[in-house]
């Protein structure tokens, strides 16, 4: 029986997860230095032990209405294998859970979601059936390309 480990967290009141092997660490940083011309998803830069990370507001990225970053929100830093020095800000990091792979399913809605770049579903890697809820597993590798796109759009709008 194979299983996968996920780091779960709450954002905008919903439960999400990312593969734990993508996570570098979780910190309490919640003050960020704004970046000029940054889209609303980008909260800014943060210095963690001398290394600069780009912080992304997950709720904004997932197209939930913009919400204030809470004082006790947490910052999930991803490994360099996921993308160059970035992390996401979530309301509350949950636990490391182990999910049997037989309980994971591809995200299938029956509609072609790859065309709509504004749909959050493009970030969804797969869904896991937990005991009494469904865990949406996100693919953090797709975050940065979206941010790039948003940057470009913002710059175009500004010019």
């Amino acid at each position: 029986m194979s299983y996968s480990l996920y780091c779960t967290f709450h954002s905008a009141g919903r439960l999400f997860g990312v593969p734990v092997l993508d996570v570098k660490e979780v910190t309490n940083h919640n003050t960020f230095t704004r970046v000029p011309h940054s889209p609303q998803e980008v909260l800014g830069l943060v210095n963690i032990r001398g290394q600069i990370f780009l912080s992304i507001d997950l709720a904004s990225l997932l197209a939930y209405k913009q919400h204030e970053v809470k004082a006790n929100s947490q910052f999930i830093v991803f490994k360099p294998s996921v993308g160059q020095s970035f992390g996401i800000v979530v309301d509350q990091v949950g636990e490391i859970i182990s999910v049997d792979d037989s309980q994971s399913e591809k995200f299938a809605t029956g509609i072609d979601i790859s065309r709509d770049a504004n749909d959050q579903a493009v970030f969804v890697s797969h869904v896991c059936k937990l005991e009494n809820q469904v865990l949406i597993v996100l693919d953090p590798r797709k975050f940065l390309s979206r941010i790039e796109q948003s940057f470009r759009t913002t710059l175009n709008n500004n010019s």
Binding site: C7, V20, K24, E25, V26, N28, V93, I96
Partner: protein, 747 residues
């Protein structure tokens, strides 16, 4: 294969390498063998040359043999055949030498071949001469002639001679001399013929080269001449004797020609010449050719043998080199693979041991491998993992220390709180006792006041009665006197009661003051309690923060452990435990906070109640003051009454004297008494008010007592929670103590 251990994988790799080197060796050897076979083939070519040379030599020998055969052959056909054979073999030998030229390599060989060819050609020339002579076969022909026709004719001649002799004997019986001469001539001729025949035979048998040949030839010629002469003379004799000699003469002439033919042939003596030639020139040349060919063969043999030996030795040397290289490769490969495998497996075993040590909680060990490959990176990553975990454990340890100190502080604060709340309780119970005393005092005061009031009423009614019965007073002066005495007694009682009331009121005021002080004390204690509660709240906030931090650390530890894979599994369990503990301590801290809040609420309520009590006590104080004043007023009134009554008593003695005076005095008294009655009612109402206030105080004090009890219970709860917290901290410290880290030397 994927799950085979690393050593096995490396073993497989090594075996593969060995197999590969074996294959290379095999291929090398097989190629070398091919090369060797090629070289052998080349050697074989030399051998072929050698064989060809040998064959050429054999051909030359065969030619010599054929030529000899041709020489000694008895029949013409045979000798011709042999001659042809001899010539043909020589031609083929020459052809072979020509073909050798085509194959020759190097001038030396060509030169040698040239000399060979020259010698063989020389031999061929001689041979041709020789066989040309041999095929003529003159001796044979001569012999044939000699032993064929010559002998035939000789015999025929001899027969004819015999016939002639017989004839002569028969015919010349009468002439014996003639007959004798004829017979003698016959005999002579016969002998001569035989002599000729013998000499010719000798002539044929003697080779031309023989020294006797000329002699014999001479003799044969002489004999032939003599024979002709004899024959001629004999014919003359026969003619003279009339003996027919036709047959004899024909046979004689045939014999003559035959013999001369024989002689001619014998003189030619080709056979012997051929022999001679064959034995001398041809033999010499053949010997030269054979020697040359032998040399060639020997050269070829030497070259071929040398080549073959050389190639064999080269092959063996190469084979030795290949085997040596393979052996060296295998040894080096084994050594290198052993070295590589140890350089991989040893650090991995170190990492595994370190991970196991980490799993058992010993974080002191470091691999410290100075290796810059992936294994070194793994070792360094494990070291940094151990460092990170050590850091985390150290932080948890320091956090747990802070937590422990905080919890012990909390415990001490809680016990202080308990002490304070107990003090409050005791104080409030003493306050309650005091208030109860106050209440009883006031009740007794109230009773006294009521009694006073009643007395006043009785005074009033008596006075009224007095007033009504003024007219009849004179008659009942004794009754009046007694009444007045009664009044005086009653007034005295009132006065005494008033004193009592005053004393009681003073005592009440005293108690109230004391109660106010106590209330103030209680309030102060409560405020201290509230402050302590706030302090505890602050500490629980700190604990919650620490728990949150610990939780985060545990989460990161879990992530690190998960990234470490199988090696981090043990630590993941520990990290989970730490996380659970952090959650538990957060919950305990929250529990404490909630309880402290309860305590604080209770305390605030108690403070409120106590301030209410203080208010009430102040009111009591005021009431007591008022009572005191009223009582003093009453006392004054009572003294006035007493004075008046004394006056009345005096007046009663003078009633008879002046009824109108009495009436006036009575009126005055009535007025005074009404005033006293009013004062008494006032006192009564004041007293009842005081009683009411005291019951309020009593109630408040009970409330205070219950609040204090509640506080006490809460404080006990706090103590318990603090103990629990202390326990949790202890557990956390124990758990963290499982890790042995090398920081600050307090692992």
């Amino acid at each position: 294969m994927q799950n085979a251990n690393l050593g096995r994988k490396l073993l497989v790799l090594t075996l593969l390498l060995l197999a590969l080197s074996g294959i290379i060796a095999w291929v090398g050897i097989s190629r070398l063998q091919v090369l060797d076979s090629k070289v052998q083939h080349m050697g074989n070519r030399a051998v072929k040359k050698l064989v060809d040379a040998g064959e050429t030599r054999a051909l030359v020998l065969a030619s010599i043999r054929a030529q000899k055969n041709a020489c000694i052959s008895t029949s013409d056909e045979d000798s011709k055949r042999y001659a042809e054979e001899s010539k043909a073999t020589i031609v083929s030998a020459l052809k072979m030498i020509d073909s050798q030229f085509a194959r020759s390599s190097g001038d030396e060989e060509s030169k040698q071949l040239n000399s060979c060819k020259a010698s063989v050609e020389q031999y061929d020339k001689a041979n041709k001469d020789c066989v040309a002579l041999a095929v003529q076969n003159t001796i044979l022909k001569a012999n044939k002639e000699l032993y064929g026709r010559a002998t035939d004719t000789l015999e025929r001649a001899l027969v004819s001679l015999n016939l002639i002799e017989t004839t002569i004997q028969n015919t010349k019986k009468e002439e014996p001399s003639e007959m004798l001469a004829g017979v003698n001539a016959c005999r002579k001729l016969s002998n001569h013929i035989q002599e000729v025949s013998r000499v010719v035979g000798e002539h044929v048998a003697t080779p031309v080269s023989d020294s006797h040949f000329i002699e014999i030839d001479q003799r044969a010629k002489e004999l032939m001449d003599q024979l002709q002469k004899l024959s001629a003379s004999f014919q003359e004799i026969c003619q003279s004797a009339n003996v027919p000699t036709g047959e004899l003469s024909s046979s004689m002439s045939t014999f003559g020609t035959s013999v001369s033919e024989v002689l001619r042939l014998s003189a030619l003596d080709t056979n012997n010449k051929a022999y001679e030639l064959s034995m001398t020139t041809v033999k010499d040349r053949a010997d030269v050719a054979i020697r040359e060919l032998d040399d060639l063969v020997m050269d070829y043999e030497a070259t071929a043998g040398k080549d073959v030996l050389e190639s064999r030795s080269i092959f063996e040397q190469s084979l030795r080199y290949i085997l040596l290289a393979c052996g060296l490769g295998i040894v080096l490969g084994l050594g290198t693979s052993y070295w590589i495998s140890t350089s991989i497996t040893r650090p991995i075993a170190l990492v595994r041991d370190a991970s196991r040590m980490m799993a058992t909680g010993d974080l002191r060990s470091r691999i410290g491998l100075k290796q810059s490959d992936e294994v070194g990176e793994l070792a360094n990553a494990t070291d940094s993992l151990a460092d990170a975990i050590s850091e985390i454990v150290h932080e948890i340890k320091s956090s747990s220390k802070v937590l422990a100190s905080t919890s012990s502080h909390l415990g001490s604060i809680a016990s202080g709180l308990v002490n304070q709340s107990e003090e409050t309780s005791s104080r409030s119970s003493s306050a309650a006792a005091a208030v109860e005393q106050l209440s009883t005092n006031i009740s007794s005061m109230s009773a006294a006041a009521e009694e006073m009031s009643m007395n006043f009423s009785s005074i009033s009614s008596a006075t009224e009665e007095l007033s009504v019965a003024v007219g009849a007073i004179s008659s009942s002066a004794d009754q009046t006197a007694s009444n007045v005495g009664n009044v005086a007694g009653a007034v005295q009682v009132i006065s005494k009661s008033f004193d009592e009331v005053l004393a009681e009121a003073r005592e009440g005021a005293n108690v109230a003051g004391k109660a106010a002080q106590l209330a103030d004390n209680a309030e102060q204690t409560m405020r201290k309690l509230d402050q302590s509660g706030s302090e505890i709240s602050k500490f629980t906030e700190t604990i919650k923060m620490i728990a949150l931090q610990t939780n985060l650390l545990a989460l990161n530890a879990t992530i690190e452990a998960t990234s470490a894979g199988e090696a981090g599994k043990g630590f993941a369990v520990v990290a989970h435990e730490i996380k659970e503990l952090a959650n538990q301590s957060a919950k305990a801290a929250e529990d404490v906070a909630r309880k402290i809040e309860g305590v604080q609420n209770g305390t605030r309520q108690a403070v409120k109640v106590i301030s209410e009590i203080a208010d009430v006590i102040k009111q009591i104080h005021q009431s007591a003051g008022r009572i005191s004043q009223s009582v003093e007023n009453q006392n004054k009134s009572a003294q006035t009454i007493s004075m008046n009554i004394d006056e009345a008593n005096k007046g009663v003695g003078h009633i008879a004297r002046s009824i109108s005076e009495v009436a006036a005095t009575a009126n005055h008294m009535a007025r005074n008494i009404a005033e006293a009655s009013r004062g008494a009612t006032d006192v009564s109402s004041n007293v009842s008010e005081a009683a009411h206030a005291s019951s309020g105080i009593s109630q408040s004090v009970i409330q205070v007592s219950s609040a204090a009890k509640q506080t006490n219970a809460s404080a006990t709860d706090v103590t318990q929670s603090a103990k629990q917290l202390d326990q949790v901290a202890e557990e956390l410290r124990n758990l963290v103590g499982k890790f042995k880290i090398t920081r600050d030397g307090n692992a």
